[in-house]
Amino acid sequence: MLFILAYKNLWRNLRRTVLAEISIVFGVLVIIGSGNFINGMQRDWAKFEINSSTGAFQVEHRDYQAMGKSEPLKATLENSAALVEQISRIPGVRAAYGKLNFSGMVSSGVKSTFFDGRAVDVARQRQTLSQQQDLIVAGKPLGDSAGGVILGADLANMLGLKIGDPVTIVVQTLHGGLNLTYATLVGTKNGRHFPSTIYLEMPLDDAQKLLRVHDRVSQVVVGAEDFDSIPGLMKRVEAELRSEQAPYVMRGYQVLIPIYPQAIPSFKFISISVGIVLFILVGGGIGNVMAMAVLERKKEIGTLRALGMEKNQVRRLFLTEGFMIGVIGSLSGLLLTSALTYFIATHGGIHLPPPAGTSQILIIIPQMNLATSVLGVAMPLLVSVLGAWWPASASANLNPIEALTEA
């Protein structure tokens, strides 16, 4: 009975109801839409970094983080070829490759400077990182033949090197002696948050000979078949390796991607801030609509009270009206946002241009998220009820005689 009465009341001033619904739909659209956009941006950023440089996760020696900066070769994984093979066979792993981190001096013959190096198993890296060539800004990726080297675009520029130029590399070997090799610059890399001023990449075999570390790597980089299954895959790999009693630890893409751990709280803060602002705006709008309804319907309230309607019943009537406005607006907003998200996602997403000096286009495909959707619907609904609360209480407290007299 109360629901029917409340429903009929919504149609009595259609313009006001529609205005209230529009404000709720807009609120839901912004909350869920911005959430989907941020969620999509997070996922696409993570996917790009995973497929171009970090992999889904990496396996390394448990002491690597403590010793890696001062003596990166001391805490490396032995029998790396067998380890890579073992990890590659685990279901859910697309491919895996060994990576060796080292440092030294690189020279053009005229200038020399410090570098931070990565040695990679080129063939396996190609299988693991499907987008690693996207970071190439000149030349080509490392080939299967020995003697090639890739530098950060800024490092190559600083040394005055062009593609095809010879470079000299000097390193300290595992045991402390110095070693030197000559190589040819085959390509340069750059990208967002890419260490372009110090980056050097060379084939793993060349680096292992140069550094005199036979069959050792700093990390095994693992590519996953499916982005959403990464946490489960990490657990499976960890369980398999733990049984080997070896000193392995895993590091997920969340900690491997530069500034990712710092950026995620910022994204959440933006989402929460948007939600709070809309909470206030939508709540104010609903409260205003319901307050106007109380003022306009004083005579009706007086009549209902005179006919014996309890204060509680009057309050519940207005709360139900607020709830109904909230439900209709929230669900309409959810439908509209879902349709819009689907449309953008199926039409290629939003393309962001690459930063200067890079070729890395970031495509953002908005992504529905259950938590954001629930929050986006629940928040305006709650606000609608709360917004109706004060006018409902005011209406319930009206004296029937005064209400009829004033009306």
Partner: protein, 253 residues
């Protein structure tokens, strides 16, 4: 009777000849290790228990780019302390060799001493720490005499020094030493891939000086790049207190 007399004379002549030639023969064949030690003595023995002022000049593209002054306290080949006295930006920085292969760098700005590698560059120059602080090569390398050679007009011994283990900074050093007085003239430093990395030329600044006091290091990494070290002033003393060469004494009190 006549025959016996002739044999006696022959025997006496032979014995006399052998007695004269024996010391000459042993003098003409010094071993590779003896040559190396005598050359290193020129440098090492002269510095023992001495405080030496030296300047380090870094040239890039044939122009002087940086100039450092250092005060070197040298006890022996394993205990050396080098303190920067110029420029003001680097004043007070100390490099310490506190024993064999135990190198430290003290940075006064942060009042912190950190362990460093012997193959690290010395003040971004072409010298590494071990080049300056450890002149005695026979500790780390096994020498072999590979011949004699003329370096310019000077007759030299040419030694090949092979690292005794892989932790030694250079895998091989070719060393030219003046035959006449074992004065060290040149070292070529090779890496484990048998590639030439650096060349050190040594000379005395004047005819009165019998040990090398000017060192010029050039690297294959950069053309027209070299670093020159000149020993400016030297005072010998009775020795240094033992704590001088302990890393704990580096920190400011």
């Amino acid at each position: 009777m006549k025959t016996i007399g002739f044999k006696k004379i022959n025997a006496i002549l032979l014995a006399g000849t052998l007695m004269i030639l024996a010391p000459l023969c042993s003098y003409a064949e010094p071993s590779a290790l003896q040559i190396l030690d005598r050359a290193d003595d020129k440098w090492d023995l002269n510095l023992r228990n001495a405080t030496t002022a030296l300047e380090l000049l870094v040239y890039r593209e044939s122009e002087l780019r940086k100039s450092y002054h250092l005060k070197l306290k040298y006890q022996d080949t394993d205990h050396v302390l080098a303190e920067t006295t110029f420029p003001p930006r680097n004043e007070g920085e100390i490099m310490l060799q506190a024993g064999r292969r135990n190198y430290w760098l003290f940075l006064p700005n942060i009042n912190r001493a950190m362990r460093i590698s012997e193959s690290n560059s010395l003040s971004n120059s072409d010298f590494s720490n071990t080049d300056l602080l450890s002149p005695r090569l026979s500790n780390e390398y096994a020498p072999a005499l590979i011949g004699t050679e003329k370096l310019g007009d000077v007759e030299t011994y040419k030694l090949e020094l092979l690292a005794k283990d892989e932790s030694t900074p250079y895998a091989k050093i070719i060393y030219w030493i003046r035959k006449a007085d074992y004065f060290p003239l040149r070292r070529d430093y090779y890496t484990f891939s048998q590639q030439l990395l650096k060349r050190l030329d040594m000379k005395a600044s004047s005819a009165k000086v019998s040990w090398p006091d000017t060192f010029v290091m050039s690297s294959v990494l950069e053309r027209d790049k070299k670093t020159v070290i000149r020993y400016l002033k030297q005072t010998h003393g009775p020795g240094f207190p033992p704590e001088t060469f302990h890393e704990s004494s580096l920190m400011k009190r």
